[in-house]
Symmetry: C2
Subunit: 335 residues, 2 copies
DNA sequence: TTGAAAGCGTTACCAT
DNA sequence: ATGGTAACGCTTTCAA
């Protein structure tokens, strides 16, 4: 790669001092019209670009933030990342996106790598394995701005999350009101706050309507297609199959959908189904899925905002909750 | 953000010179066992991290590459990016991913931004609007390593693409052999090499089997859901509807699928359909889509490899073609 | 209006 | 074994 032209290079050509070039380029006073003109022309012709590394070094600000997601290739995270990036770009920041493959060990590695890059802050969506948050607390101690988003945790840290309890409650109520009696919950790992909250909302709705809670109808495994598939099949193998399923996640929703279909059962006649997922995916199945629509743009924007607050020196811990909306389609309408 | 500890800081504490610290940290000879021990301990305790910006400045190598994609939130690109990143990480490189929103103007902006960041090379998937490649040729002139991937162009530049002509040909032959006579091609913009190539393969197959080519059956619009929807509806509004559709793209495939369904037509009985798409999406529709499976991992890995070749000084132009495979499912099996 | 020099973090070279 | 210094690109302060 060709070494790019520096202020020094321009200075040499013009036979003046670098500091003069700097002033000329920055539009600062103290340069003659003539000289400034020549400097700008030369800079343009030779494709002069300020070296951000020199700037970073000088100012100690890298204008970069880091993002850690469980799977960048997954629709949901890709969208959130896109919105964070858009917001960052508007504010003159670049993003370095890293992918933990939903593994705790990688997650720690990603964060370490980002710290090494001297990013000014990190937005993290936790892996489904993560239960030990000490590495995050250490970052806090070092005053490194951190925001947890989507999959958060109950630690002293700014977060942006969806209103998981309430949206699961609403979804469950909708299932009950559509006539379902035995409603199953298909969730992620039992230690994930997101799953806990959604399960909580589900149970609350059952209690509210006086429906008996059955442990056999609550399946909390891994967030993976295969886990969702086998858990759903287990549900379908019970003597009395559930009349509806609430899936904690897009992946699990699709897995459940396909498991149901593989058994030749009809949706929604035999089993209704609701999932937390994107409109794009929900519109793809047939019948189309009733789903909990999450505002990914708002999540991305708030995540960046909270990060910037901290970068700008406001170290208070903030929690933003993004609202969701139940979109009713054909996977739950019995009539 | 707390200023991170530098070699100078350690040197001050220990009352020795920075250069000694540097040697100790790098494991170079010329430091007493005792001192080295103390330096390493101190560095660890205080969370010393080498400053990559200082290194970049010194060596002129930023260990960063840039990626430009039309839409990072779209499955296909997200996957390729993931593989490029994985490969980059293995080689000690970080990626800066930018999103052109499939607009030419943004694409140029993304590239400029990456150049400003002094990335060592750029991998670009062109926007569907891009017809003017002069900005790329300028980069070439400046010896900035560039690789085009997925959506490439006929310019003097290394590329990684799928075997678009042949895979479209195979897909069309499959449709013909399944009994379809009137086969439509639903594609992207007419000036995109990828679309041109796929259309070419389609036409070749028709000629091979002696099937009349009908212009009305070739629809090349935008790569967007809405464009695919309306183009498909136009096809369905013709006096004699097509017996099969080959869709140039995942988005268009889904759009076509939904358009067909919205008219109450059966797949594959009334119309068969094949698309270029991912297994994940193809398995989601009902009936499941016959699709052209593209090896995204191979594309990502090759893209990084070709970029590294150039970064390492091998400036020869290389073209890698990644093979595809037709996966037959229920959207085309008439029996 | 322009020049000179220091400093940001690191390393390589030369001197001690 | 250790110290001193220049260099990377840029800005800033002070001096001319």
């Amino acid at each position: 790669m060709k070494k790019s032209v520096s202020q020094r290079d321009i200075a040499k050509v013009l036979g003046v001092n670098v500091s003069t070039i700097s002033r000329a380029l920055k539009g600062l006073p103290g340069v003659s019209q003539d000289l400034r003109q020549k400097v700008l022309e030369l800079a343009d012709e030779n494709g002069y670009r300020p070296n951000p590394f020199a700037m970073s070094l000088r100012y100690g600000a890298t204008r970069m933030i880091g993002i850690v997601v469980p799977d960048i290739a997954y629709n949901h995270y890709a969208h959130i990342v896109k919105w964070i990036e858009e917001e960052a770009k508007k504010n003159g920041y670049m993003c370095i996106v890293t992918d933990s493959s939903d593994k705790y060990k990688n997650e720690v590695g990603c964060v370490k790598q980002l710290i090494n890059m001297h990013v000014e802050g990190i937005a993290i969506c936790l892996s489904q394995e993560t239960v030990d948050f000490t590495y995050l607390e250490r970052l806090q101690t070092d005053n490194i701005p951190i925001v947890l988003f989507d999959r958060v945790a109950d630690i002293r840290c700014s977060t942006v999350s969806f209103n998981d309890v309430e949206s699961a409650r609403q979804a469950t109520l909708h299932l009950i009101d559509s006539g379902a009696k035995r409603i199953a919950f298909l969730g992620g790992p039992n230690q994930m706050k997101q799953t806990i909250d959604r399960k909580h909302g589900y149970l609350e709705a059952l209690r509210e309507r006086g429906i008996t809670i059955r442990k056999r109808l609550v399946k909390c495994g891994q967030i993976s297609f295969n886990s969702g598939l086998s858990d759903t099949l287990t549900l379908l193998d019970q003597p009395e199959i559930p009349g509806a399923i609430l899936a904690d996640n897009g992946l699990l929703s699709i897995a459940a959908f396909q498991a149901i279909r593989s058994r030749g059962l009809r949706i929604p006649e035999d089993i209704a189904i609701i999932g937390f997922m994107s409109d794009w995916v929900s519109g793809m199945t047939y019948p189309r899925m009733t789903f909990i629509k999450q505002n990914l743009k708002e999540m991305g924007q708030n995540t960046f905002k909270l990060l910037m607050d901290q970068i700008r020196g406001d170290l208070s811990v903030k929690h933003v909750v993004v609202n969701t909306r139940l979109n009713v389609r054909e996977s739950t309408s019995k009539i």
